[in-house]
C-alpha cells in the first residue's frame, strides 16, 4: 500500500479534528448534553500528554436538538465547512440513519465512529461501510435479559413497560427470540411519560399482578414508573434496561433511594459509582481535573470511554493518518482495545458492532449497581438467532496513566 503524501482532510501535522452531533438543547438534552464536554475532557488529557502521535485532538460539537433534519444539516457543516476528519459518538437512531444515507458518509469514506445508538441495522457493514457501532443493540440487550429472566424468575408473572418506538420494539424482538412471554405489557409513546401517565402504567401492572417488571424506556420514564410504583404501594422485582438505569439521573428525577434499592439493572459498563473499578476511578480523576467536576454519571462514563476508544482508533490509523487507515485499524485491532466495558469487543473485518454482552446487578441502598452473585458475569449474543453464551472475556487492564499505547 502506497503512503499518501498529503494528509487527509481534518488532519494536520499538529491537529486532528473530530466532530459530533448531539442534542444540547431541547427535551432530549438532559443527560446527553454532558457527553461532548466529557469527551473533550479526556481528549484534553491526551493532548496534554502528547496527543496522538503529536497531533492534538479537537472536537467540534454541533447541537442537533435530536432532530434528524438538523443532524443532517449539522453533519454537513461538520464535513463540508469544518472539514472534520471523522464523526465520533453521534447520537440517535433516526439521526444516524439519516446522516449515513443523506450525507452519505459511506460514499465519502468518512469514518462514523462509535455511533451512540442500539439500532441493530448498523450491523450491516456493507450498507454502512464507514459506520462503527459501539454499544450492543437493543435486541441483544433484550435477548440477554430474557435469558436471565428465564433462568432466575421462571414461573413468575412478568410485566413489561416499553417505549413504543424502535427502541422498545427492538426489545420486543429480542424477548421473542429469547422465548420470553410477558403477561402484561404496557407501551408508552415517547415524550408522553410523566407522573400522571405512569399512574396508568402501574395501575395496569398492578391489576395484572405482575411480579417481575422489565422497564425498557428512557430514564425519565423509568424514574416516573419507579416513583409512581412506590406511591401506589406496588411492589415488584424491577429490571431496568441499560438506557433507563442510570442511578444518578434517576435520583435527579425524584426516585428516592429506597425505591431503587433492590431493583436490578443490566449494563455492559461498570457502575459509574464503583470506585473499585480502575477505569471508573481513572475517569473520575479526569472528570475532576478536566471536566469541571461535573456529576459523574453514566453519560460521563460512556463519553470518556468512547473518547478512549477514539484515541485508540486514531492511533491504530498510524502516523500517516487516513480515513482508510483508521477503519482498517479498527477492524484489525479494535477487538483488543482497552475499554471500561466488561463485554468483549467484536470488531473484525466486516464486523462493525463493538460490544456484545451484558451483566446483571442489583442496586444497593447507595444507588450503586452491584453485580449479582458478587462478581461480573457477562452474557453475550448477537442481534440475530445466535445463542446466548456466558462470556469468558477478560478485560484488558487500564493502560498506564490511562494513555493508550496500542
Amino acid at each position: 500500500q502506497a503512503f499518501s503524501v498529503h494528509a487527509e482532510t481534518g488532519v494536520t501535522a499538529t491537529q486532528i479534528k473530530l466532530g459530533i452531533t448531539i442534542p444540547l438543547t431541547g427535551s432530549a438534552a438532559p443527560g446527553y448534553s454532558k457527553i461532548p464536554s466529557a469527551m473533550q475532557a479526556y481528549f484534553n488529557y491526551v493532548n496534554d500528554n502528547g496527543g496522538v502521535y503529536g497531533r492534538k485532538i479537537s472536537l467540534v460539537v454541533k447541537d442537533d436538538a435530536y432532530l434528524p433534519t438538523l443532524a443532517v444539516a449539522k453533519t454537513n457543516e461538520l464535513i463540508l465547512k469544518d472539514k472534520v476528519f471523522a464523526v465520533v459518538g453521534a447520537l440517535g437512531t433516526a439521526n444516524n440513519k439519516a446522516v449515513a444515507k443523506s450525507v452519505n458518509l459511506g460514499r465519502r469514506g468518512i469514518p462514523d465512529l462509535f455511533v451512540n445508538t442500539g439500532y441493530s441495522g448498523f450491523a450491516d457493514a456493507k450498507k454502512y461501510p464507514t459506520t462503527f457501532s459501539l454499544f450492543p443493540s437493543y435486541i441483544m440487550e433484550a435477548k440477554i435479559m430474557g435469558q436471565y429472566i428465564k433462568e432466575n424468575f421462571a414461573g413468575k408473572k412478568l410485566g413489561l413497560i416499553y417505549q413504543d418506538d424502535d427502541f422498545g420494539t427492538d426489545a420486543l424482538v429480542g424477548f421473542k427470540q429469547a422465548g420470553v412471554k410477558f403477561d402484561v405489557s404496557v407501551p408508552y409513546a415517547s415524550g408522553s411519560q410523566s407522573a400522571q401517565s405512569a399512574q396508568g402504567w402501574i395501575g395496569k401492572l398492578k391489576a395484572a399482578g405482575a411480579e417481575v417488571v422489565v422497564m425498557f424506556g428512557v430514564t425519565t420514564a423509568s424514574g416516573a414508573a419507579l416513583a409512581t410504583a412506590a406511591a401506589m404501594a406496588y411492589k415488584a422485582q424491577w429490571i431496568l434496561g441499560s438506557v433507563g438505569g442510570d442511578a444518578t439521573t434517576l435520583k435527579a428525577v425524584g426516585v428516592p433511594a429506597y425505591v431503587l434499592t433492590g431493583a436490578m439493572g443490566a449494563s455492559f459498563l461498570p457502575a459509574p459509582t464503583d470506585t473499585t473499578d480502575e477505569y471508573v476511578k481513572f475517569f473520575q480523576g479526569i472528570n475532576t481535573k478536566y471536566n469541571g467536576d461535573a456529576v459523574f454519571d453514566n453519560n460521563v462514563l460512556v463519553a470518556m470511554n468512547t473518547a478512549m476508544m477514539a484515541v485508540q482508533a486514531l492511533r491504530a490509523g498510524g502516523k500517516n493518518l487516513t480515513h482508510a487507515s483508521v477503519m482498517s485499524g479498527l477492524e484489525n485491532s479494535g477487538s483488543s482495545f482497552a475499554s471500561a466495558s466488561l463485554s468483549p469487543i467484536n470488531y473484525a473485518s466486516g464486523v462493525h458492532v463493538g460490544y456484545s454482552g451484558y451483566w446483571f446487578g442489583t442496586y444497593n441502598s447507595a444507588g450503586e449497581l452491584k453485580p449479582n452473585g458478587g462478581a461480573y458475569s457477562v452474557y453475550t449474543t448477537d442481534s440475530g438467532a445466535g445463542a446466548i453464551v456466558k462470556s469468558t472475556f477478560k478485560r484488558p487492564a487500564l493502560p498506564a496513566n490511562g494513555l493508550p499505547t496500542n
Binding site: T25, D63, V72, T169, A189
Partner: protein, 340 residues
Amino acid sequence: MLKRKPTTQVQIDMDKNIARRKIIGAAFFIFLGIALYVASNIVDELRVYQGATVAVYVVAISSIILLTGYSGQISLGHGALMAVGAYAAVLSRNYWNFPIPLTFAVAVLAAALFGALLGMAAGRLSGPYLAGTTLALAVGLPSLANQFKILGGEEGLTYDVGFPPLALGQDFTQYKWFFWIAALAALAATWVIFNVLGSRYGRQWRALRSNPTAAALLGVHVARSKVLAFTISSGVAGLAGALMSMTISLVTPSAFPLSLSFAIVTGAVLAGVTLLTGSIVGAVVLVAIPEVTAALATHLGGSEKVTSNLPGLMMSALLILSVLFFPNGPQLHRRKTRKS
C-alpha cells in the same frame, strides 16, 4: 372630484395590466431558474445542500402564505401535513417503485386529501380554535407512525431518490441532484400558487378573510372556499414534506416535530405573510440563522451552558424583534397611501 377616464382607455390599461403581470411573473420564474442553475455550479457543496433546504422551506412557507396570508386561516400543524406527504411519497416509492416525480405527485395528492378531510372537519373553526386543532394534529399525528408497522416506526423509512443520472457528469454530486429536484419543484409549486393567488380564487380568499358575510353575499361559498384553501395548502405542504425527506433520505416521525410547524409559520411571518416572493427571504433566514448564530456563539465563547443556548437565544430574540418592527415582512415600502 373624480376624474373619469374614457372606457376604452381604461380597457387598454387593464389589458396591459394583465399582460404585464403575466410577463413579469413568467420572466421572474425563468430568471430565477437560470440564477439557480448558475448558482448551483459555483457555490460549494454545503451551500448547494442548504440551497435544497431553502427550496424546501420556500414550498412550505408558500403553503402558509396561501393559507394564512390569503384565506386568513392559521395552521400550527403543517408539519404533520408535511409528514403525510412524505410518508405517502416514500410508500409509493418503496412499495410500487414509482418514479420520483410521481412520488411527489402522490405526496401532493395524499396531503391534499388529508387536508380536505381536516378542512371539512375544521371548516367551522377559526382563530385560536383552528390553531388549537392544528397544534394538536402536529403533536398527535407523527407519533401515530409508531402504531403501523408499514410506516417503519421511529426508525423510519429510507427515501431514496437515487444517484444523479450519469448523463449529468462525474462531478454532479448527490446534493446538487437534491438541489435540482427541490428547486425545480419549488419553482413549479410557487408558479402554480402565484397563478392561483392571482386568480379569482385568491381574490375570494382575501375577501372572505376580512368580511366573510359580504363575501358570502357575493356568491362565495365561504366554507367550501376555506376548505379549498386548506386543501391546496395541505397539498403544497405535502410536497414540501416529500422534498424535505429527500434531503435527509429518511421519513421518520421525529423529522416532523412541533418545532417544524412553528418554523414554517415563523418563516411565513418573516416573509411578510401576504407576499409570495417573501417566501424566499423567509426560507433563507430559516436556514441561515442557525448557522450564523451558532458561529457567533462559538466566536463569543463562554461556558457550555451559555454557548449551547446562545443560538436559541439569538434566534428567538431576532424573531421577536422582527415581528415587533417588521410585522409586514421584509418589503421596503408598503402601499398605505390614502389619497384624498
